[in-house]
Amino acid sequence: MGQSQPLKRWPVLVVEDEPILRLDAISMVEKAGFEAVEALSSADAIQLLEERLDIRLVYMDLDMPRSRKGIEIAAAIRKRWPPIEIILTAAYFTRESVELPERAEFYSKPIDHDEVIAAMQRLIEANESRPA
């Protein structure tokens, strides 16, 4: 796709409470060439991020109703782990209706697989080349 050389199989955290969509997201992550780490809720996600310090990208659904507002979680992640890239998706929200954390990207559901895969690769690549 967009990369000039194969990227490392970085772990990507998929935060999605809808099982089928989570499966679909995992397959997208793998298709992009990364290792998928699953989280079923935002609380899960925070715990995983605390444990897996190698996670470079979070792909998160903002619509999860049973937890804190997705966009707040995203902001918290950005604040607590600044180097981690964030891709957000939502069916309820539109790109215009959310205030994205810095460097975060948003794709409205239903997502365009090609688009999101390209975004994952682009962000990881940019992340790798940024001084740690």
Binding site: E18, I20, L21, L23, D24, S27, D63, A91, Y92, T94, S108, K109, P110, I111, D112, H113, D114, E115
Partner: protein, 781 residues
């Protein structure tokens, strides 16, 4: 004594020598009388009598007519005294001797002469004065019976003469004056009557007789000259009002003059008069005809009275009734009515009219043309004045209709408004009548005033009803209707408005700035709306505002200018409707729509995920990708529709959303603001998605410089509006018609409404597509 004699008294009588003394002292021996002792008895006796008398006397005695006189005579002599004493008569009165000698001689011949009122200018009180004297020369017999002397007895008659002269002068003056007054009497413009009252057996005055009457009087009352003298007033004017007898009787009985202004009998004439007692059951009356003045006064008073009545009376019918009665009584006519003329200029409606006794009313509805040939004059606003309908060409043809309702003469005064005769004031009389210009003017004035009053009443009534109606409408409204001044301050609020705003006393908010009642964007909207209203525009906005007691409400506010007389915005009308419930419903609906959109898109995501997972091993992954992208396009359309609750969407928004993911810089979108329905939104989205997908695969978007122009326009086609939308690719490779027509092609060919109307041209410059559909189909739900 004669007229030109002048007598001057010698100083004070008491200082002058007493004649008795002079008689004694005088040396008579030197006279022809001889010494006193020798005087005959007759002489002594005559002298004694004379000296003792208080009347002026003198005595001429003897052949020499020796002159003697008494004290009373001295003033007559003047400065001749005391020289004249004892001289001859001729010496005493030398200057008149020639004149009196014949008298003296006659007296000595035995005759007595008497003179009356002889004038004598006499200075006896320090100044010359005219005096008159009567005297007699009588002979005095001597002892032998011969005439020995002459006794002159003198009586002053000055007072009597003067009195008689005064009387004569007065008499002459009286005569002159009588002539003068007689002339005046005859030439007087005022009528003059000298009358004598006639009493019955009990002495009661019951009538009076014309003794003297001047020509002016005959002319004034219109009776042949000379016909009244000798007759009584009751004979001259049968049925004359009793006042004419009673009042003059009172003048005679009380000797008190009276003044009066009165009408005489049937003559319709008015007189100012003065009646004065003239003694012995006589009186004089001076008349001046003041009919014109009285009538002018009456008309003027009537107009003033009319003005008062018109102000005081409210009911239009009462106004007409009062006005016509006043006009009728003032003019002394048979009938007065006020009718209105219909807009057709033909129907004439008289609600009621005023009539004198025995006149039938004309109340009713008429056709103007039924009443003679003057209807056209009335329609055109000309006052119709007919002294006698039998003589006027407009009515003489057939006088029966008018005469049958006792109309012989008439004045009809049209009232005009906006070039049309709207009402007519008619004044009729059963007898021919010469209408004076003043009377016609009066009718005109009265008619106009009455009409104006009626119109004003009508307008007031309408205004009252309108005000009451508007007030009830305003009160019934649950909208908060306010008047806002140009500076934004509140100046009025309806009762209904206060109720919904929960304001108990408007004074608590009067003058407060209205925009500050609103919340959120409300104040800004309100200020914009005020500015727009000042420009004459009406605007509308929605904003939340708490009621006066703090209950939150959402308002739909309409703001419009209230124009002043100059056409400029004078004030601002703000009507706020409580949309709280509506707003809640809307919010709920919005929430539900949002939720629905979320679920739809979520479901789409699940469908997409299932498809991906199901087809992950399929060979045609492009088809899987295409499916995902079409689903994405559908979701995009869903987003656009969600914004307006799935009712409609802007064509521009739909196109932009559909093409968003293909690179915004590659498209040029242009067209008017057209709303399209949800079905057209889906169709257009899918169509544009397919076109863009194709362009990205084979068309203009494959080239870096390639561009797509999407334009649309609404045009009139016959009796309906049609939307044209064009897709033009340029800057890419030449377009080639695909050999295989898949689902995408079919979506494109379905067009804007799913039923075609699409033309594709594969040109060397690139693909161009024209899609056309009736606007109403595109806009339907």
């Amino acid at each position: 004594m004669v007229s030109n004699v002048e007598g001057i008294a010698m100083g004070d009588v008491h200082d002058a020598p007493r004649m008795a003394d002079m008689l004694s002292a005088f040396d008579w021996s030197k006279t022809s009388l001889g010494p006193r002792s020798d005087w005959p008895t007759s002489l002594s006796t005559a002298v004694d009598i004379m000296m003792a008398s208080g009347h002026a006397m003198c005595l001429a005695w003897g052949p020499e007519r020796t002159f003697l006189y008494n004290d009373a005579y001295i003033p007559i002599l003047g400065k001749r005294h005391p020289f004249a004493f004892g001289v001859t008569f001729a010496e005493a009165w030398p200057d008149v001797w020639d004149e009196i000698k014949p008298l003296v001689d006659k007296t000595f011949a035995g005759e007595t002469s008497t003179f009356r009122d002889m004038p004598l200018l006499m200075t006896r009180n320090g100044y010359p004065e005219d005096t008159w004297w009567s005297f007699s020369y009588s002979p005095v017999r001597g002892e032998n019976g011969e005439v020995a002397g002459l006794l002159n007895v003198t009586l002053e008659t000055t007072d009597r003469v003067k009195a008689e002269r005064d009387r004569d002068a007065a008499t002459a003056e009286l005569q002159r004056s009588e002539v003068k007054w007689r002339q005046l009497f005859e030439t007087l413009e005022e009528g003059f009557v000298l009358g004598q009252v006639i009493r019955d057996d009990t002495g009661q005055i019951i009538d009076w007789r014309y003794e003297e009457v001047n020509d002016a009087w005959y002319d004034l009352v219109g009776i042949e000259r000379g016909c009244a003298v000798g007759q009584t007033i009751r004979e001259v004017f049968p049925g004359v009002e009793d006042e004419w007898v009673l009042e003059f009787a009172r003048v005679v009985e009380t000797s008190q003059a009276i003044r009066f202004t009165r009408q005489v009998g049937d003559l319709q004439r008015w007189y100012d008069g003065v009646c004065q007692p003239a003694g012995a059951d006589h009186f004089t009356v001076l008349f001046l005809e003041v009919t014109d003045r009285v009538n002018a006064d009456r008309r003027r008073e009537a107009l003033a009275e009319l003005g008062r009545m018109l102000t005081a009376i409210d009911d239009p019918e009462d106004i007409v009734r009062a006005a016509t009665a006043l006009i009728g009584r003032t003019l002394g006519v048979g009938r007065v009515g006020f009718g209105t003329v219909g807009e057709d200029g033909e129907t004439f409606v008289v609600p009621s009219d005023w009539t004198a006794q025995d006149y039938p009313t004309l109340a009713g509805t008429y056709r103007m043309d039924d009443y003679g040939g003057y209807a056209q004059d009335l329609r055109e606003g000309r006052t119709v004045i007919i002294p006698d309908i039998r003589l006027d060409p407009r009515t003489s043809g057939d006088t029966a209709p008018l005469e049958s309702v006792a109309v012989r003469s008439l004045v009809n005064r049209p009232v005009r408004e906006k070039g049309r005769t709207v009402a007519i004031l008619y004044v009729n009389d059963g007898a021919p009548r010469d209408w004076t210009p003043e009377e016609v003017q009066f009718i005109t004035d009265a008619g106009n005033r009455t009409w104006i009053a009626l119109e004003r009443r009508r307008a007031e009534k309408e205004a009252r009803e309108t005000a009451a109606f508007l007030s009830s409408v305003l009160a019934a409204s649950t909208d908060c209707i306010k008047v806002v001044e140009l500076d934004g301050s509140l100046s009025f609020m309806t009762d209904g408005g206060m109720k919904v705003m929960e304001i108990s006393d408007f004074n608590t908010v009067r003058g407060c700035p209205w925009p500050e009642f609103l919340k959120e964007s409300g104040p800004a909207y309100a200020l914009e709306a005020i500015e727009a209203a000042k420009r004459g525009e009406t605007t509308h906005f929605e904003a939340p505002a708490d009621t006066y007691v703090g209950n939150p409400r959402h308002w739909s506010v309409s703001v419009s200018p209230i124009l002043g007389p100059d056409g400029e915005t004078a004030r601002i009308l703000s009507v706020s409707r409580d949309h709280t419930e509506l707003q809640k419903a809307r919010e709920q609906q919005h929430l539900l729509n949002g939720e629905l959109a979320h679920r739809i898109k979520n479901t789409m995501s699940v469908v997409q995920a299932i498809a991906h997972q199901t087809l992950s091993k399929a060979e045609d992954q492009d088809a899987v990708a295409a499916f995902g992208k079409r689903l994405g396009a559908l979701a995009a359309a869903n987003d656009v529709l969600t914004r307006d609750n799935w009712s409609s969407a802007r064509l521009g928004d739909v196109a932009r959303k559909a093409l968003e993911t293909f690179g915004e810089d590659r498209f040029t979108l242009a067209g008017p603001d057209v709303m399209i329905g949800p079905r057209a939104t889906l169709a257009l989205t899918l169509m544009l998605h397919e076109l863009a997908t194709n362009a990205a695969k084979y068309g203009a978007l494959t080239a870096p410089e390639g561009q797509v122009t999407v334009t649309w326009a609404v045009r009139r086609d016959g009796d309906k509006d049609v939307l044209d939308l064009s897709w033009v690719e340029r800057g890419g490779p030449a377009a080639v018609e695909p050999t295989r027509k898949g689902f995408g092609s079919r979506i494109i060919r379905m067009g804007l409404t799913g039923s075609g109307g699409v033309q594709l041209r594969y040109e060397a410059e690139g693909l161009s597509v024209q899609a056309t559909a009736p606007l109403y189909q595109i806009q339907e739900a």
